[in-house]
Amino acid sequence: MHPFSFHAAATEQEAIAEAAAGGRYIAGGTTLVDLMREEVERPRRLIDINRLPLRDVHVQDDGLVIGALARMSDVARDPATAQVQPLIVDALVEGASPQIRNMASIGGNLLQRVRCSYFRTLDAPCNKRTPGSGCSAIGGANSGHALFGTSVHCVATHPSDLAVALVALDAVILTRGPGGARRFPVEALYRMPGETPHLEHTLEPGEMIVEIRVPHGSYARRARYLKVRDRASYEFAVVSVAVAMDIDGGIVRDVRLAAGGVGTMPWRLRGSEAVLTGRQSGRAAWRDAAERAIDGAQPLVGNHFKVELLRRTVVRALEMVGGAA
């Protein structure tokens, strides 16, 4: 690990000023400390923001409010969250291990970096780690990589389960930074790799995620996060699907769908939502939605199986929420 100086910020203003001057925020640290030890990340100054009062989780008239420094486990066991947004609890509990969920913050979860093994291996070319060095995954081991949003420069999947649920639910991020306060959809936090895979998010230098807001929706209480992976727990998704659906009188009134493990960012399935909205619920609709979900998939040599797996995972998730009839 490279040497760095360390400062625990007492106030948000102080933290933002330090970060604007080149410091790097640290919250739970479960991604950053690991990558610093691997020397993939080499910050020269860390700004500990854990003392800032950004841990509150509560429900208000227009939705659920989650402080960015709340820990994954705090949100997962919050009764109000379970009541209004069970999809979020589902996605949180399916992610990481109990120990990591006790450490990892919600803001940090959204900003976690990719798990591509080449990104973490210093002697392998990786455009995300060393821009211009090449992508080892495209001609290498890529069974875990993305079907959507890829470029010739990077094919790594975004690893967060929570982000998939938040993108499905039209959640919004509130930030504060040197340029003031901003508010934008979680989906707009992410950048596809394109020509610049080393740029993963749209935050400005020194900008801090302070809160997540999840609007109420008629679909929210009938929801499920289905995660398919190589072991039963404590593993990243091969494919995952978040579904929240409002069915009334056998008709799909409103639905939100997103997938994980298949995109370079959390992948909203708007085409599938359009197929389902207004349809009679049931297998025929689920199959059509799944067919639409795989539209535009660009499989690599090693991950062809994910196309069929995504199709089946969409059907299964819809069955679990909307019935198998």
């Binding site: 690990m1 040497p3 100086s5 479960t30 860390l46 002697d123 392998a124 039963a232």
Partner: protein, 174 residues
Amino acid sequence: MAAGSAALGVADLPTDAAGPQTAEIELIVNGRSRRLELDTRTSLLDALREHLQLTGTKKGCNQGACGACTVLLDGRRVNSCLTLALMHDGAHITTVEGLARGDALHPVQAAFIEHDGFQCGYCTPGQIMSAVACIAEGHTGSDDEIRAWMSGNICRCGAYPGIVAAVAQAARAG
């Protein structure tokens, strides 16, 4: 896999990087206040093992995958390898050395012995600390629930049946 200095990105390293930096903190470990002067890079795990000689907490993968380094931080189970000691000034840490009362083993320790919840024993301190928390959290309603909520602790010997039985028994006795 191609190698080369371009891929290493060594040229990107700041040549004027500051040298090692230290800071002083207090940790309350197993009820006892300990003041430490530490390199900023010191993990909580290394602070315990290398600076306080509490070697019960094990270093397995050192990347948050195995759970051998599990301790209680202000009562919550965490991977001590994945966090910097400096982030926990004033915190209460409980390690496996802090469970027994004199010669009387903690009920979870006794249950692991009774059910052969280990073979080589390397993962055992982490398993036991995780189990203490798992029971306190109330995630012991069934063997499946125990397996899911103990899944952050890997046992390469495969002593899982004994571990699950030990956690279930300690939870019942709780």
